[in-house]
Structure formats: structure tokens, C-alpha cells
Amino acid sequence: MLDQAREVCPTTTRRMSREGALLVDVRERNEIDRLAFDVPDFVIMPMSEFERRYSELPRDRDLVMVCQIGVRSLKATYFLMYQGYTQVANMEGGIAKWVRKGFPVKVDAAATAAPAASSCCNSGSSAGSACSDTSASSATAACCGASASNSAACC
């Protein structure tokens, strides 16, 4: 039987990322197009491609697996453990929890225009402009980190 997977919170993940860990996002590309982690280094490897491509991942570097809520990434974590990877952890809570923490993300304004207009970003012109600004991750985080409920609606 496999050992219990190592689970880390978004705060630890952010620190690990700064210290050189590689984030591996296993969400599908259309999900990532809408909302992506804004970290120094990450790899997109959707679950639909994972079994075929996992060997591209380095074995000698810390890997943190991420997805929307932490379920798919846990599966990917165990798969890598099965394949002999030892420096792998799962980020519990996924990007949803990352956003709730107010950590930086990149939002595609075009892809999120419709839901944004009907949720947190039409409440005020300044918030709307911040949320719609795809280049400013801090502004995006400010919009999405305003409150937990708004985060979920917006992001």
C-alpha cells in the first residue's frame, strides 16, 4: 500500500514555490485559461494527459500538485508516488482555497467576463476595473480576496 500522501496548505505551497518547488496544475486547459496560479514556476499537465506525460516531471525537485479543490491533484500525487516519485505533495483545497487566502492569480477577463459581471465585479466601478485587469495579479487578488463568498462567485 502507498504511504499517506503529504498534504500542504496554500501558505506552505506559496513558500515552497518561492524556495524552488514546481507547481503542477492538473486542471484542464479551459479551466486554467480562466484562472491560473501566479507563481514563479508552474507546469500545466491536465489529468487527461497525465498518464502519458507524467515522466516529463523532474524526480529531483519538490513538486506540489494543484487543481481546483485538491481532489484530482491528490489522485495525481498518489499516481506519482506509485511511479516512484518521493518529492511530491498535494495542495489541499486547490486554487479555490488559494484564492480565498488572497494569493496571486491570473484571471482571463474575456473568459470570466460573464460570471464576473454578475458576481463581485459589478458592485463598484473600481472593483470591476481591478478584476478585469488581466495583467495585475495583485489587483485580481484584491478583488477575489475581498471575501470568501465573493471569491467563490468571482473566481
Binding site: M1, F50, K75, F79
Partner: protein
């Protein structure tokens, strides 16, 4: 007796796979010991990414989708005198 494990987190396809294997085993008169494996960690211990997975006597014989009746008959016939 064949030890058969069906790997899956309880989805409809997993339940259909269990039912079909039991049905084929009964119709062929093959004694089987069926076991559901639903914990993700246990499932991944077989390296199976796509469920349902089927393990017979410790060997993964199938992963992803409900197996065909023909396929199940072949599994159950293997090793039978």
C-alpha cells in the same frame, strides 16, 4: 476461487462493473470473491488512473470504463479446467 477487486470511488460505472462480473460469474458457474476498493489511496496503490479498474488475483486486467461481457468471460475462463 478467483479473487476479484473492482477499483472505483463508487461511480455508476463501478457499480455496473461489479454487477456484470457477478452476473457473468454466476452464469458460468465460476466461484469468485468480489471486493470493492473505494479508497483513493488503495486504488492508486494499483497505479490505476482511470476507473473502474479490475484486479484479478492481484493483477490489473482492466482500467477505465465498464468492461465488455466477452472480456469478463475470458478473465473467468482463464485458469479454469
Amino acid at each position: 476461487m478467483k479473487e476479484i477487486k473492482v477499483l472505483g470511488t463508487g461511480c455508476a460505472n463501478c457499480r455496473a462493473t461489479i454487477a456484470l462480473i457477478e452476473q457473468v460469474a454466476q452464469s458460468k458457474g465460476v466461484a469468485v470473491n468480489m471486493q470493492k476498493v473505494e479508497e483513493l489511496r488503495d486504488i492508486m496503490g494499483y497505479g490505476v488512473m482511470s476507473t473502474p479498474g479490475v484486479v484479478i488475483d492481484g493483477k490489473v486486467v482492466h482500467a477505465g470504463g465498464v468492461p465488455s461481457r466477452d472480456k469478463i468471460e475470458q478473465w473467468l475462463a482463464a485458469g479454469q479446467a
